[in-house]
Amino acid sequence: MKKAGKMLSRIGVEIKEPAGRELIVKDADYSWIFSRVFDVPVFVENGIDVGITGSDVLSELGSDVFVPLDLPFGHCRLSVITPAEKKVSIDMMTNYRIATKFPNLTKHYFSDMGIKVDVIKLHGSMELAPKIGISDAIVDIVDSGRTIRENGLEEIRKITDVSARLIVNRVSQKTKFDEINDLIDNLMNSFKEG
């Protein structure tokens, strides 16, 4: 959120942050909606003009939105992780039970490799799943790797790199063509300036 604010501020757009717990804040030009990252593509697909979310979430949901820009923040990776003491290669994970917030990406990844696994959808605290024995491994976001190390886990394979994306509703792109293109052009120019 801070990085998105800084990025927009550089092109003269200031996010109006909520004073309390409001989820929608309006200023003279825009309505700002603050939601969970997993909900952003759903909102944009269903009528919100523009949003910022992660490439991981977009791939997981398969949302029908335009994705004009890769944004220069939110860099991390989606990886397969196992308990450090039970480290195995991916090829040996047949019939493994895998806990994740990303069931579709996980199923596709293992299915593409011809490995049959059971996937359990969890909404958070992924690191707990192998510790309490409900899964053999997890697929989760890794940034510095500190959280997984502190929980006795080890990253064994990167599935994909992840970063933030600007997304646009398909109809808004047509009905607010100039406004949205200006936003994209201004952002692209600001990225080039560094």
């Binding site: 335009f66 509703n169 109809v171 047509k174 009905t175 994209i184």
Partner: protein
């Protein structure tokens, strides 16, 4: 809570009746394709299933379903009302038409079908809509020398990803043209067919937008997308295709979206009269 499929059915039926009238007035005949058909690589969407080791698709995309059948007539003007399953149990009620074969030139065929869409929407009291027209071949011609990256380029165009286009290793001129095409929208086109459609219709609801290319792989060149600012998704789409060497054009409209929009329009009309 029990579902209210009956009320929903009345709502769809009322809208479908208005649209059917428009099709019959223009000489289209209604067709009824089977709900389930043997799996074919040509079928798009639908729900894939297996029965006794045979593979089937339930309620596939109707145009692809037609193309998987033998068509004996030299010319067919047909329409359908069907629920299409989108790869799962979730479906969308569509009403659409296909004009297969016959004598008209490409621009006349496309123009007449766009005119038919306008007539349908007007009959439903929907006036605030646009029809975007694009060309798949305009993009293919641009990247004709680069088959290696064709898939990535088309994916970038479909998602309108400026970042992806910037990252592709393309000659500067091609990259600039791709980016320019995505930023171009209006009433002017280099494509003679699109130009002819625009000039013959003189309709300010028709807009040239080359970014309109997300449709099915059977589309050959000209594609259209229909939308209104009162609905968050496209309300229809269509395009040109070739079947057994014959020129064809078809479109499908989202019946549920039209029913909702038409009812909203009726409500507004009533409020204004009160």
């Amino acid at each position: 809570m029990q579902k209210d499929n009956i009320s929903n059915s009345f709502k769809l039926g009322k809208t479908a009746r208005v649209i059917r009238e428009a099709f019959y007035e223009r000489g289209y005949s209604e067709i009824f394709l089977p709900t389930i058909d043997r799996y074919s690589g040509r079928l798009r969407e639908g729900l894939k299933t297996a029965v006794n080791n045979e593979f089937y698709v339930i309620r596939p995309d109707v145009t692809s379903h037609l193309l998987a059948n033998r068509i004996n007539d030299d010319e067919l003007k047909i329409f359908y009302v069907s629920e299409v399953l989108k790869g799962s149990v979730e479906g969308q009620w569509q009403i659409g038409a296909e004009w297969i074969g016959g004598e008209p030139g490409r621009a006349s065929r496309i123009g007449e079908m766009i005119d038919l869409i306008g007539t349908i929407l007007n009959k439903l009291a929907l006036t605030d809509f646009s029809i975007d027209i694009g060309s798949i071949k305009a993009w293919e011609n641009l990247i004709s020398g680069d088959f290696a990256q064709r898939e990535q380029i088309f994916e970038a165009i479909k998602t309108r990803s400026f970042s992806a286009i910037e990252k592709l290793s393309l000659p500067v001129q091609i990259r600039e043209k791709l980016l320019k095409n995505l930023r171009t929208r209006g009433s002017v086109s280099d494509d003679p067919t699109i130009r002819s459609v625009i000039e013959s219709r003189q309709d300010r609801n028709i807009i040239v937008d080359l970014g309109t290319i997300r449709l099915f792989d059977y589309y050959d060149d000209i594609v259209i997308e229909i939308y209104t600012k009162n609905h968050s998704r496209a309300i229809g789409g269509g395009g040109e295709y070739i079947n057994q060497g014959q020129q064809c054009f078809g479109f499908a409209l989202d019946l549920e979206a039209l029913a909702d929009l038409s009812r909203e329009s009726d409500d507004k009309g009533r409020d204004n009269n009160d």
